[in-house]
């Protein structure tokens, strides 16, 4: 699978410890849900950030998506809390 640019925002960014990283998930990581599970193994910070998936929201290539979304072809995936702008 191709490399994916991961972006993290707000407390997800703080827990992971970085706002951006490039990852190359193995075969079998097909959906966004799969990806989050796989990312959780990268570090204790990742594990903390992704421990409660219902608290996360996501965008693939800058479109909001849910965790069933396939990640094939994704270049950029952002993980973040529910938005609180406005």
């Amino acid at each position: 699978m191709a490399a994916i640019e991961m972006l993290y925002f707000a407390w997800v960014r703080e827990a992971v410890g970085t706002g951006a990283e490039t990852v190359t998930p193995p075969e079998g990581v097909a959906t966004l849900g799969d990806l989050v599970g796989w990312l959780s193994g990268r570090s204790p910070g990742h594990a903390t950030a992704f421990a409660e998936p219902h608290r996360l929201r996501a965008a693939i290539d800058q479109d909001f998506v849910d965790f069933a979304a396939p990640i094939a072809g994704a270049r950029e995936i952002a993980l973040f809390p529910p938005v609180t702008g406005g």
Partner: protein
């Protein structure tokens, strides 16, 4: 006219209204969001997804233009550190009649709250910091427009 800005700089609602008033319509509506200084808040930090924000705001604008006959629409959202009393967000709409202007401005701020990638962190006088949780009513406020599309 469609004017969408994501900026650190302050803005002037009076100037924005004047631009909308000059479009020849009979009604201009606006909403301005302001940092409340409750609970000893000393700073609100607005983080956003730089690549996605302008595009997400443009989609919200297109949706408003699809639903109402607007002559003009202005969306300004600041990011970065903000002090209590500072303006965060401005929504302005111009239309021939008041109904579309008023409804579109309410729609735009409801959707900005739920569909634009901004996050707020509060810093208090006692040093405490906390990310703002979405208000339960925000999703409901945005969802009420779904029935009317």
């Amino acid at each position: 006219m469609r004017d969408i800005r994501v900026q650190i700089e302050r803005f002037d609602p009076g100037e924005e209204l004047a631009r909308l008033e000059a479009l020849g319509g009979g009604g201009v509506a606006s909403f301005t969001g302001i940092v409340r200084g409750e609970g000893g808040l000393v700073e609100l930090l607005l983080e956003h997804h730089p690549g996605m924000t302008a595009q997400a705001m443009a989609r919200i604008a297109v949706e408003a233009e699809r639903r109402w006959p607007l002559l003009g629409l202005t969306l300004i959202h600041r990011h970065g550190p903000l002090a209590p009393g500072e303006r965060i967000v401005f929504v302005g709409t111009a239309a021939m009649h008041r109904g579309p202007a008023l409804e579109a401005s309410a729609f735009l701020i409801d959707w900005l709250k739920t569909a634009a990638p901004f996050w707020k962190r509060e810093r208090f006088a006692d040093g405490r910091e906390a990310w703002v949780e979405p208000r339960a009513g925000d999703a409901a406020a945005a969802a009420r427009w779904d029935d009317q599309g």
